[in-house]
């Protein structure tokens, strides 16, 4: 892969902006709420702006790795600080920027332990940015862990609904995944004989088949826990329900993508033969996840659980796309990571707003909520339409690409996936009807609708969903510019 050095450290700025914000927050007092929020917003805003900049100014014709920064870090162990942007991670950096920026706005009304909340949230997002841009396995894993661990505290303090159980379950599941990832990474490191963690250099090594098979399955399972791969997904609905709104947004929207991105970037990239060996298995788990997520989601009455299980099935689509190993499949998978990230963020953002007012997420209790809060309901309904795969929304194209590829490679699993998505769409509409278009619950009639300022983050999210729904080519050509050489290199 060609590397083009950065003229200015855009990526480091994107990464360090939350860190600087975090350190400024440490020195603010708890009661300076406005200052705390403004610092967080500016820190997130800078990263958001830079992520848009890298996305827009990435030169697709030139291809390869751009905005590269490389510094030797630990000489003795061959660790380098190596970050860069290519077609497949630019959308995900953009996604992270969108979600953190709107996440800060969504949590604007937070009253409890505001300072610490934003400190942990900024720490978490630093990790996420780091994973998406790192091309050194040490830093990749370091950032991966940074992204995972603050969740425990975020859920424990600011969460709801069985939060103690959920926080511990989530953390242990994800750390157990890490327990599989470390041996995988180190096995590659040691069997390469190069004493380097640089992924591009490791890619050039022909690992023996058994190393590839073993490493791939370790990493697939380890990262798969975070990606919500069935049957290791059980932490995810519980965790998403318990987490505070912006954390659910970040977690379902971005963190789960870390898992699937890592499977693509590390496992498939470094162990192509391992991938060939396990591809059928991946496809099977992914298809099961799609069907399972749809049907379990149907039985839920808590709105957040509905979204939680729909995430399992949508992440199954990502997994199915990856398992195909074709250009269209991978393209769709990355697109779906982006689209599902924005969509889920919108889902949780909308539910969070409703829950903060009514303190319920029960479908039947909410009843005809659209008559009380038409705008807030509209946000949710838009997300639901996107989740159901309505054309004109970003998810439609992503799912289309994946399903076309899947039917070619795994016909039966692909058809099952399509069938369950159609059923899922039907029932998603039922959920929308029961929640928003029945008789309104008189308890809630005194609530006011979303103010323009609080509506802003949701509007941004909808804007991105519709933009990439109408102009999918922008995204598809971007991803394709790196997927095609990726497949050729496998």
């Amino acid at each position: 892969m060609t590397e083009h050095l950065a003229s200015f450290p855009y990526l480091s700025c994107m990464l360090l902006s939350p860190v600087v914000g975090l350190f400024i927050l440490l020195f603010l007092k708890e009661h300076q709420r406005l200052a705390i929020r403004m610092v967080s917003l500016v820190a997130a805003g800078i990263s958001f702006g830079l992520s848009i900049y890298t996305f827009v100014s990435y030169d697709k014709a030139l291809g390869g790795l751009q905005f590269v920064e490389k510094y030797q870090w630990v000489k003795a162990f061959g660790i380098t600080y190596f970050v860069g942007v290519e077609g497949m991670n630019a959308p995900l950096l953009l996604l992270t920027g969108i979600v953190i920026f709107t996440g800060v706005l969504t949590m604007w009304e937070l009253q409890e332990r505001v300072k610490e909340y934003f400190i942990f949230q900024l720490a978490l997002v630093t990790g996420v940015f780091g994973v998406f841009m790192s091309y050194d396995m040490f830093f990749f894993f370091l950032f991966y862990e940074i992204a995972v661990v603050p969740m425990y505290i975020l859920i424990l303090i600011w969460g709801s609904t069985r939060k103690i159980y959920a926080a511990m379950k989530l953390t242990l599941y994800l750390m157990a995944g890490s327990g599989l990832i470390i041996p995988g990474i180190l096995l590659l490191y040691s069997s390469s004989g190069l004493f380097t963690f640089n992924m591009l250099q490791l890619h050039a090594v022909q690992f023996s088949p058994w190393v590839q098979k073993l490493t791939f399955v370790l990493m697939y399972l380890g990262f798969g826990v975070l990606a919500g791969v069935w049957p290791f997904h059980t932490w995810s609905p519980v965790g998403h329900v318990a987490a505070p709104t912006a954390v659910s947004m970040l977690h379902a929207g971005v963190l789960m993508k870390l898992g699937s991105f890592a499977i693509l970037r590390v496992a498939m990239y470094l162990c192509p033969q391992g991938f060939q060996y396990w591809a059928q298995f991946m496809g099977l788990l992914a298809a099961t996840g799609i069907v399972y997520g749809v049907f379990v989601g149907l039985a839920q009455t808590d709105l957040k659980y509905v979204i939680g299980y729909s995430s399992v099935s949508h992440m199954g689509i990502v997994g199915l796309g990856l398992a195909t190993g074709t250009v269209d499949g991978l393209n769709g998978a990355v697109f779906q990571m982006f689209a599902h990230g924005v969509m889920t963020a919108l889902f949780f953002s909308a539910v969070g707003y409703i829950y903060d007012r009514t303190h319920t997420r029960d479908i039947h209790e909410l009843g005809g909520f659209s008559k009380i809060m038409p705008v807030a309901s509209a946000f949710f309904i838009t997300a639901a339409l996107c989740g159901a795969g309505v054309p004109g929304m970003a998810s439609f194209w992503a799912e289309l690409l994946v399903l076309i590829a899947a039917v070619k490679v795994f016909p039966i699993r692909g058809l099952f996936a399509i069938a369950s998505l159609v059923i899922g769409a039907l029932f998603a509409l039922r959920v929308v009807q029961n929640t928003f278009f029945n008789e309104p619950n008189p308890k809630f009639t005194h609530f006011e609708d979303v103010s323009p300022f609080l509506g802003l983050p949701r509007m941004i999210l909808i804007g991105f969903l519709i933009f990439f729904g109408l102009f999918p080519q922008v995204m598809v050509s971007m991803i394709k510019s790196s997927i095609v050489p990726f497949i050729q290199g496998m």
Binding site: W73, V74, A76, F77, M168, T171, L186, L187, Y189, S190
Partner: protein
């Protein structure tokens, strides 16, 4: 001029003398003693750092001063200084014994400093006993119920037994090689290790240090001593004493480096049992110090992972981890000392409301605990990853897998501490006021944990240069 090589040790000998005179006073001057001792320890640390570049041999070549020994001397002096820093409020020990507390900690440090420089079997043994006897006195010094006596006796007996093992092993090595000098022994080892006597000799010689490091099967004292000893004494045992033990295990284990499969397998088994046992038993502990004791058993297992790689990378990562462990474990103990001001044993649940009582302490606690659990970006994470890397390079896949899984298990009980500090409400408990030196200490420790976790290169290069003289 040659005596300058002995500088740090001479300095601490003098400090011990000064403190000895303090202990003769009829009416104790608690505050003044503390201030003097702390300042002297700080100067000692500076002396040790100033001597870090020295090289040479003393006492008929029984005593070698090199980068390896000087780094550990600086670490030990730092450990002593840190423990004195948090001894302002020595509620666990009677006032008339405070001067003795400082005196014996200083002699213990002196013993360990001599230990890390010793390259002759008898010198090693004598230095080890000097440090051990000081601790045998310190452990039962605690005021109050009889638990301290039980702890003291347990520590003494298990210490004596492991010393016995060690002497037995040393006698084998001496018998087979006709020398007590490590420099003479090392060239003869490859040949000797082919026979059982060499292998048994080296393994048994390690027993004395496995005891200090609380490696299975010499770990039985740890929980009781941690719980029964005064908090400050335990802090010293859990930090400085461990670092010295790692240094000596590195030196002795180097004897077995040529032994190949058998010796390494023995260490692999000890490492796996220590990690797994420590982590599993720590889960059910309710007393904070007992939990930390079991976690120290687990950490001893992690350090062995680096040692059994028998190469520069492995040894330097073990040194890095030992230094990191000193800092992170101290951070946790400092919080424990501040919360248990009256010198009592702290239950994990008693950390309740720490977040409200002192945000700064709770931040230190979270960083210390995360570092112990191996969560980035902390020295604990980097250290553990380096250990695993060096072991994997030697082909220990299963060992690394087990180590990594153990990391997950340990997270459960570490998170319970954070849960208690952040989440359980401490109704009616007063805020904890910190003096300005303690505040500075908190900031310094947090900064160290984060900075060297993200930028470990300088320490690793130093450690690599140091271990070249050992291997």
């Amino acid at each position: 001029m040659t005596m300058l090589l002995f500088g740090p040790e001479l300095y601490f000998l003098l400090v011990a003398l000064v403190l000895f005179f303090f202990s003769l006073r009829r009416t104790p001057k608690v505050k003044a003693d503390h201030t003097v001792a702390t300042v002297l320890a700080l100067v000692g640390f500076l002396v040790a750092v100033a001597c870090i570049g020295q090289k040479g041999e003393l006492f008929f070549k029984a005593y070698r001063v090199d980068l390896f020994s000087q780094i550990f001397k600086a670490a030990l002096a730092l450990g002593l200084f840190l423990v004195f820093m948090i001894s302002r409020n020595l509620a666990g020990i009677e006032e008339r014994l405070h001067a003795e507390f400082y005196l014996f900690l200083t002699t213990c440090t002196l013993g360990m400093m001599m230990l890390v420089s010793s390259v002759e079997l008898l010198t090693i043994y004598v230095s080890l006993e000097l440090s051990s006897y000081s601790l045998y006195i310190l452990v039962p010094m605690r005021r109050g119920d009889d638990i301290d006596v039980e702890a003291g006796i347990k520590y003494l007996f298990i210490g004596a037994v492991s010393s016995g093992f060690m002497l037995f092993g040393l006698s084998y090595i001496f018998g087979a090689t006709h020398s007590t000098y490590l420099t003479d022994i090392i060239p003869k080892m490859p040949e000797l290790l082919a026979s059982p006597i060499g292998l048994v000799g080296v393994l048994l010689s390690l027993a004395g240090f496995f005891f200090k490091l609380s490696v299975f099967p010499f770990h039985f004292w740890a929980p009781d001593v941690y719980q029964g000893g005064a908090n400050q004494v335990v802090t010293f045992i859990a930090t400085a004493s461990k670092a010295a033990a790692v240094a000596l295990v590195l030196r002795i284990a180097a004897l077995g480096a040529g032994a190949g499969y058998d010796f390494a397998q023995a260490l692999v088994i000890l490492s796996i049992i220590s990690m797994t046992l420590g982590n599993l038993v720590a889960i059910i502990q309710k007393d904070f110090k007992r939990m930390l004791a079991y976690s120290s058993i687990a950490h001893a297992g992690y350090v062995l992972i680096g040692i059994l790689a028998f190469n520069e990378a492995g040894y330097s990562s073990a040194v890095y981890y030992a230094l990191a462990y000193l800092i992170m474990n101290f951070t946790v103990f400092m919080v424990l000392n501040e919360v248990a001001r009256d010198g009592r044993d702290l239950k994990i649940a008693e950390l309740a409301g720490l977040y409200h009582r002192s945000p700064l302490l709770s931040m230190s606690l979270i960083l210390g605990i995360f570092a112990l659990a191996g969560v980035p970006p902390s020295i604990g994470f980097t250290g553990k990853l380096l250990l695993f890397t060096s072991a994997m390079n030697q082909g220990y896949f299963l060992l690394v897998l087990i180590g990594a899984v153990n990391g997950t298990i340990s997270l459960y009980y570490y998170l319970r501490v954070i849960y208690a500090a952040y989440f359980i409400k401490g109704e009616g408990l007063p805020p904890i006021q910190l003096s300005w030196p303690t505040k500075m200490l908190n900031y310094a420790l947090c900064a160290t944990i984060l900075f060297f976790g993200v930028a470990p290169d300088s320490i690793i290069e130093l450690a690599r240069a140091a271990v070249r003289t050992v291997l």
